[in-house]
Symmetry: C2
Subunit: 154 residues, 2 copies
């Protein structure tokens, strides 16, 4: 279901891939389980190729004039939309939000959402999903700085 | 601890903020609990201002010539680094990865990591944290498309 053309380096504690410039995201196709085999270009999901266990992340390029043709909610997942380039509109529970570089929108599972690119330029954004209520500690509290001095290999 | 200068619109099922152009990220300061009140520019954490419950996300600008001066691990959180612009290097368990636009790196909690911008340009990236092992369904399975036709307010 996720894109399988991505070369991924798997290490003991990491996975790494070079997706390439965001302008080339349309080279990745997403195959929705209800899409009858038809690939949808411009959406690259990372959970499966990077073997992530706590989040789903997609990198997205939505061409000028296109919009998501349905509303959706989530069962358990909180979403964060991070807009990087271009402009468009986000519709959440009937409220319209103009989006552009630097717009960030958290949506609770129950939120009824859709979005569109009604501009003349491609719209770029990242969507993150994680299970609502799953994070107890914040990011800093969970981190552990090590005493060793940083040494970059020659 | 998180940046408090961000104007956030809070809705029933969402939170929204306009962070502005990523080149202006240095206008946000991050106050580390061990930083003795000294703000660290160029790192904006979103969990607290957006009231997120399942993830921590930071937007980052690392100036040319700077690096993270320590290694760190995590107790429970998986991390994903998404590089957007500029170039640099990521060091994970002694292995060096060159990073640029489109580099994505998942790190398990145990991974010993640091990174640097040894280039002549600013480096931009996003870091996502979520609790390792917390996501059962993938993103598509958790979503529910609604039957209503999309209607944008006039």
């Amino acid at each position: 279901m996720d894109n399988v053309n991505l070369d991924v380096v798997q290490g003991r504690n990491f996975s790494e891939a070079q997706v390439g410039a965001l302008t080339g995201l349309n080279n990745y196709k997403f195959y929705h389980p209800l899409g009858k085999g038809r690939g949808f270009p411009g959406k690259l999901f990372l959970k499966e190729p990077l073997r992530m266990t706590g989040m789903e992340v997609s990198l997205n390029k939505l061409p000028a004039g296109q919009g998501v043709p349905f509303y959706h909610q989530h069962r358990e997942h909180e979403e964060l939309y991070i807009f990087l380039k271009g402009s468009g509109q986000f519709l959440i529970d009937g409220k319209v939000i103009d989006v552009r570089e630097g717009t960030v929108i958290r949506v609770a599972p129950e939120g009824v959402r859709t979005w569109r690119n009604h501009s003349q330029e491609d719209l770029y954004y990242i969507v993150v999903q994680a299970k609502a209520g799953s994070m107890q500690a914040n990011g800093i509290e969970d981190g552990v700085a090590l005493p060793e001095q940083v040494a970059w290999p020659a």
